[in-house]
């Protein structure tokens, strides 16, 4: 993509720079198209994308034959390969789906059968004896389990950043702080339907095609664009508790409950940052921005944690947070492409968007091609960017003697709990998609994410952030990010 100027019509405008919108932008960036990726927030991946259980799902328990099942399987395979190339932290810990009651135990064979129908390999029953051998800290009373060997944990922050970085480097214009407030269709020559005109808080955007990847706001965007409707977003809040890294040795695999109709239930999982995650709750709410935790939610989680992994509660809590799943009244994804209106909708992705993102992008762009979007490959090969590694299992900069010898800033640890160096903060501030605020820096480096929650380093990290040349504050300026923008 080259030469787009403000005011000109782009080939495609994507509304929403969450993991799904960013994945679609990345997919489209491989073709000779001008693409704009717009988001109301000041960073990519700030909605459902950033606050979830951070599991790379195989889709073993999806509804067989559903679109979700197919795209999850495809997305999981694609993302596993992509993560390895892009340096996105992934740990293949496997999962144990634990039955605590006779009723749950009776469910296991049908879950195993569903996994087979979903082409999920290697799922097998595990006896209580083997379960306790593998997970000696598990609370008493587990009767049996299923092992799902390919379930993994992934970094939900690096993933959309890698997609956006690749897209921006390939010419996609990332327009942050850009909220679409209204849309209309231009009339084309001879009364034919023209492109879309989108009103935003930063002026007008024109696009021949529009992709709705607006997550929690996708039904409203759909209505704005005159889509066929048929779905309503019903935010489902999930509260989670992150435990100290000292709790990490308490478990080996992801510990899943037997799912109910409402939710997958409360799980305990390692994180790629070396912590342990407990959650989520599932509460239907009306407010699409209410990511507050509640006393009831936190109490129910600690009670569940005490049953599943009693010693977990002896360790300190590092963080609590809540995320909103973009659920609808439907069980399956709401993906449709309207050739006449030149409108693609990728909504109702609920809680599996991170795992399925690359599958969804491939599917949506394929449908757009069939509907007439010209997909001509660009010259040069697309290559995933190499993202800064922020996982715990691999080698971080502070552990790399050669790197420190080449640049002492990688030996200067600023955030002690997470061992984030001055060099990594500097790199994040100068990256293709730089952070707009401390929260963005946190998601790129892990700084401020640790057990002290800023007791030691918040003041220093804030000062480094404020020293950024040309650094803006969130909400005071729109941010356009394009390749070559940084000095």
């Amino acid at each position: 993509m080259t030469g787009w100027q403000p005011g000109e019509a782009a080939d495609v405008v994507i509304i929403g720079a969450g993991v799904v919108g960013a994945a679609i932008a990345r997919e489209l960036s491989r073709y000779q198209l001008t693409v704009l990726l717009a988001d109301a927030a000041n960073d990519v991946g700030t909605g459902t994308t950033k606050a979830n259980t951070a599991i790379l799902h195989t889709g073993f328990d999806a509804v067989p034959g559903s679109l979700e099942s197919r795209l999850l399987r495809r997305g999981c395979a694609l993302l596993t390969d992509y993560a390895a190339l892009a340096g996105i932290p992934v740990e293949r810990t496997g999962a144990l789906l634990v039955a605590w009651t006779a009723e749950q135990q009776r469910e296991l064979p049908s879950i195993q059968e569903r996994a087979r129908q979903n082409s999920c390999e290697g799922v097998r029953p595990v006896t209580a004896a083997e379960l306790y051998r593998r997970e000696p800290h598990l609370g008493p009373g587990a009767l049996a389990a299923l092992e799902i060997p390919d379930e993994s944990v992934i970094c939900p922050w690096t993933t959309p950043l890698a997609y956006a970085t690749e897209a921006v480097r390939a010419g996609v214009r990332l327009m942050l702080g850009t909220r679409v407030t209204a849309a209309r269709a231009e009339s084309g020559p001879g009364g034919a339907r023209g492109g879309h005109v989108l009103s935003t808080n930063r002026g007008t955007l024109r696009g021949r095609w529009v992709v709705n990847a607006a997550g929690l706001h996708s039904d409203r965007v759909d209505a704005m664009l005159g889509g066929d409707g048929g779905f309503t977003i019903r935010p489902r809040r999930g509260e989670l508790i992150v435990f100290d890294k000292l709790a990490r040795p308490l478990l080996g695999s992801i510990l899943l409950p037997v799912p109910t109709a409402q939710s997958k239930g409360v799980l305990v999982a390692p994180t790629v940052y070396g912590n342990v995650l407990l959650g989520p709750t599932a509460q239907d709410i009306d407010d699409r921005a209410d990511t507050a935790t509640t006393s009831g939610g936190l109490a129910s989680l600690t009670a569940a944690g005490r049953r599943i992994l009693p010693r977990l509660l002896d360790e300190e809590v590092t963080a609590t947070y809540a995320g909103l799943r973009a659920a609808t009244e439907h069980r399956d994804y709401q993906i449709r492409v309207d050739a006449t209106r030149r409108y693609a909708c990728a909504a109702g992705i609920r809680s599996t968007g991170l795992s399925a993102s690359l599958g969804i992008a491939e599917h949506v762009v394929g449908l757009m091609g069939e509907a007439g979007l010209p997909l001509r490959g660009r010259n040069g090969t697309a290559a995933p960017p190499v993202m800064p590694y922020i996982g715990q299992a691999g080698t971080r900069p502070y552990q790399d003697a050669a790197l420190i010898a080449a640049d002492p800033d990688y030996g200067r640890i600023v955030c002690h709990c997470e061992r984030v160096t001055r060099g990594e903060i500097r790199d994040a501030l100068a990256s293709t998609v730089p952070p707009a605020d401390l929260d963005g820096l946190r998601r790129r480096t892990r700084a401020l994410n640790g057990r002290c929650q800023g007791f030691y380093c918040a003041a220093t990290v804030s000062a480094l952030m404020a020293g950024r040349p040309g650094g803006g504050r969130p909400g005071t300026a729109g941010r356009q990010v394009r390749a070559g923008q940084q000095a």
Partner: protein, 435 residues
Amino acid sequence: MNADVLIVGAGPAGLAAAAELRRLAVGQVLVVDREQQPGGVPRHSAHTGYGLRDLHRVLTGPAYARHYADAAARAGAEIRAAVTVTGWAGSRCATLTGAAGIESVSARAVLLATGCRERPRPARLVPGDRPAGVMTTGELQQRVYLHGERLPGRAVVVGAEHVSFSAMLTLAHAGADVVALVTDLPRQQSYAGFALAALARWRVPVWTSTAVRRIEGRERLAAVDLADLRTGAVRRVKCDTLVFTGDWIPDHELARAAGIAIDAGTRGPAVDTALETSVRNVFAAGNLVHAAETADVAALGGIHAARHIAAALRAGQGMASPSPVTLSLDTPSPDAPPAPRVPITVDPPLVWISPNAIRFFSPPGDTTISPPHGRFLLRSQVFRRRAVLEVRQGGRVLARNRARLIPGRPVHLDAGWLAQIRPSDGPVLVALARG
């Protein structure tokens, strides 16, 4: 490289220990600290009152930090700031990381003096939004005193102990209008004079039996919901800054990474009266083993540890195999100290005691080592104006000492009864006498 003693943490305990070790003619003493400057927490605590018990004069925090950094350097200890111990290659072999690279240090003895931190908001499971403007006293003081930040607007301080009043002063200094100190306890825990001065001079009240129920504000802090625990009434108080104070936890990560036994009460490494841990020739001192005491108490603990480290090195205990009379603090370790130790524990409402075991001189093994300053430190979770602490071993009452109990405030137990301890009579228990 090699060192006779590696000290991790250049706060009052670590620096005081370094100076003392050099005074006792221990050869190579290396002190490392992950912060940019040595001195520890007093560096960013600008108020006065430091140095009463150890230096017998009163200094500001930064002056006190400089005093110990200078004293350790003058005594010939090597102090390296901005260097982090990132792991262990053996029980006394540490991996150091800094701008100069990654290096291993093997020491004949190690002193852990990594201090403590305040429990932040998430660890207290306070529900609500996650806005900016919520911090601990440590972060507040660094923002204000090290980085010169201003904090205009209304502030609420959670806690009513010494450090809470210190946070109030820092907030006032930074231009904040402090609305109140709130505590879920029925009374404030600091000196009566502090609370009176807060009210008279700054018009800041202490709201007792009051708990933070919820935090509100999407980007910036907007308000807190405060519940009156007596009536159940909840009210919304607008504020721009919320500071969580006190509720200390030791920074015990390195100790746990080294496989050192942790005391269930203090949550720091379990130490005996010589301040040696469950791993031989690894000692721990300062607020890592009693979170949190004032800086002078930490420094005196460092000096106490230094004397026993010097003695251990002189005795050439270096790498000798453990003696058969070992009584370890937790599970017996092949690398545990050689002398017999008798655990000392407390019953509720006492929450912890430090040190956690009584050590006997070895040889001959019948005289005990006194704790730092000749007394044990305890904590209570209840207020009691006239309590009696009873010290018992194997059915014998060894002592009954009067004490005033205030949560979060030190309770001292003089160790005059130590001579009556018998190595074979089992653990010593400290509990409140009935009646």
